[in-house]
Amino acid sequence: MTIGVIGMWVLALGALFLCLRRSPTVARRAVNEAGTSLVRVAPVMMMALPMAAFVSELIPAGWAERWLGPDSGAAGVALATLAGSVLPGGPFVAFPLVLGFLKSGAGPAQMVALISGWAVLGLHRTLSWELPILGPRFILLRLSASLVLPFLAGLAAEALLPLFPGAGLR
């Protein structure tokens, strides 16, 4: 996580240095634009970030093994996709949660659908980052183009599961 942030700052400062080499005006314009973006983006983000924390407090214990077991089939895959889309937080929340679900008996194909649903549809990420930065029209386009894909990934995982015997409980 921190390595990613450091890498990004190195890239950002490198790009800013290239701007500065072009001319100080260009560098100042870059900094100004970044500041304007931040002021426009921050209010929505600050209201959206607490949502992840509140939603994770609302997840009831023991639902994954009951509804998303290995025998839950396509219905389980669909439900897992939906669950993934409302699963809040970054990878440091999502992957440990999925590990817990797998250990308590959820099916690997269903968990593939859940992670894909979280990554592709992730309501929380969409609302906290994509909406303030790119706007509602981009979200409409992206969701229309990708709505069924996590479900397809889950079905593909169900078909490929025999090739990956270690994908289940470790």
């Binding site: 996580m1 973006s37 983006v41 970030l49 690997p108 183009a145 490929l160």
Partner: protein, 183 residues
């Protein structure tokens, strides 16, 4: 202007409803726990937000408009979607870095199919997240199965996005600020 405030109001209402639900269903301790988790999140992501927006703004000054049109433009075909997918997988950092970069790519001439493929490839199959989180936590069999099932999705979404009649330009983005003409 009005639409931006509408967004803010909708998000605020959603967060407040979630907060009320936690308070009513889970009690005050859970509520306080959520507030503390939020504060931790803000402290963690603030450096990435500022770094990501700075990176985006600086790159927009450097990359001339239309520079990527040949690689990721509307005429780039399947190859353009594959290039965008590869770029998305290589993209480091969290959502705060990736979404501003979409603005850079769009201004440089990437079409909507390539932009969607980029976002999906980054969010589904970003190398950094797989290496740092998925592989160590869920093991190689699961990570490989998941990656295999996710690999074709960005290209599929890109094809769909090109086919759908929904237009999007960088001017539709709230974070976009057009560069004023140099005097």
């Amino acid at each position: 202007m009005l639409r931006r405030h509408a967004t803010f109001i909708v998000i605020s209402l959603l967060t407040l409803s979630a907060a009320a639900a936690v308070l009513l269903l889970r009690g005050e301790a859970a509520f306080r726990h959520a507030i503390e988790a939020t504060w931790g999140l803000v402290v963690t992501v603030a450096p990435s937000i500022i770094g990501g927006l700075l990176l985006s703004a600086a790159l927009r000054q450097l990359v001339p408009p239309g520079a990527l049109a040949r690689w990721m433009g509307a005429e780039s075909g399947l190859r353009g979607l594959l290039v965008a997918t590869a770029a998305g997988m290589a993209m480091p950092g969290g959502p705060v870095a990736a979404f501003p970069v979409v603005l850079v790519l769009a201004q440089a001439g990437a079409d909507r199919g390539a932009l969607i493929a980029f976002v999906l490839a980054w969010s589904l199959n970003g190398f950094q997240r797989i290496l740092v989180w998925e592989l160590p936590i869920l093991g190689h069999d699961f990570a490989l199965l998941r990656l295999l099932c996710g690999l074709p999705l960005p290209v599929l979404a890109g094809l769909l996005a090109r086919w759908l009649p929904i237009r999007w330009t960088p001017e539709d983005a709230p974070a976009f600020k057009p560069a004023p003409d140099k005097p």
